[in-house]
Symmetry: C2
Subunit: 201 residues, 2 copies
């Protein structure tokens, strides 16, 4: 990897970190692009060369996490039923975060706090999840061998499950991977109880 490429990556991470810290300290709305750019010592114009919008920088960690989830999903064995594969991929994505660089973990958890504290950003995360849903749907449809209403419902139910699981996190659990994991498991268990056998086949 050349110097130029390394520098770009470094600037990108620095912008994310600076932005998240400022968002947490002064709030998302009260933080300006100028402040973020100044903290990293780049021009405001450069900020927009790295991120398309103020929202994008706040959601960058979430976006990365979704990519991890998708690659975990595609690595699940064919034998697993769609919803099982989704749940396992989620566990895998959480594990990647848990066992990864502490800085990455910190960044992710900071981002989650910002998302929870800012309605605008929360809506943006929903938009992300919905965009992702299209790609998840492809995998579900492939495993079920049918791109129909039922595949859509399985996919939407997964999204809901994750959402409900994460919604229940207390403030402390927002900065704690294990607490997050427990909430998710509780919700997966509930789904198992409320659905008929082979509902996702």
């Amino acid at each position: 990897m050349g110097l130029r490429e390394r520098k770009k990556l470094k600037t990108r991470v620095a912008l994310i970190d600076a932005a998240l810290d400022l968002f947490l300290e002064h709030g998302y709305e009260s933080t300006t692009i100028d402040q973020i750019a100044a903290a990293v010592d780049v021009s405001p114009r450069t900020f927009f060369r790295y991120f398309g919008s103020k929202e994008e920088v706040a959601l960058a960690p979430a976006t990365d996490a979704q990519d991890v989830f998708l690659s975990e999903l595609h690595a699940r064995p064919e034998a697993e039923s769609p919803f099982t594969a989704l749940a396992q991929a989620m566990r895998g994505a959480v594990a990647v975060l848990r066992d990864g660089e502490p800085e990455d973990k910190q960044r992710f958890l900071k981002a989650r706090q910002v998302v929870e504290a800012t309605p605008t950003i929360f809506a943006g995360q929903m938009r992300l999840m919905l965009a992702n849903e299209q790609r998840i749907l492809e995998e579900v449809a492939r495993r079920r061998g049918a791109d129909d209403l039922r595949s859509q419902f399985v996919t939407a139910t997964f999204t809901s499950t994750i959402r409900v699981g994460l919604e229940n996190c207390t403030v402390e659990e927002l900065s704690d991977i294990d607490g997050m994991t427990r909430r998710l498991e509780d919700t997966f268990t509930l789904v198992d109880q409320l659905m008929v056998a082979n509902w996702d086949r």
Copy 2:
């Protein structure tokens, strides 16, 4: 109702109609507040006295529809299970629209087209639905007698159901209440098939 109040209502509706027409013709992003205000012959500043943001005017019909839904929900008999009450309330809300003023129906359908065509607005609608979900959750929790994970899941499943049902609408069905109704019924039927008995009790 006094003259002043009538004038305000008229201006509000005129702004919504002008905005929706401009959004449909030139796209949401390419339409400016100035254009909307000019079309209704008010100052741009006045626009913001009626709507907090450009997004809000696009979502006004959706917001009104959600209010109708909520009042239908509270009118459902106590004997109905939570999800049944939700489904019936949805049918009721659609009926109100179907049997209402043709102008209101047109406005609603135009707004739906704008929402579908504009990712930003679509995300905004999600934000609306999530805000509403809190109020729906209260009713579900009341009927179940428990404000727990299961109540949250029932509520989230309802939201998913509506979303999946409406997502499947083709462009023509977007401007057709009956087509919309059929899609919704298909989805409700599917939920019935995939859930265990009394899953929402």
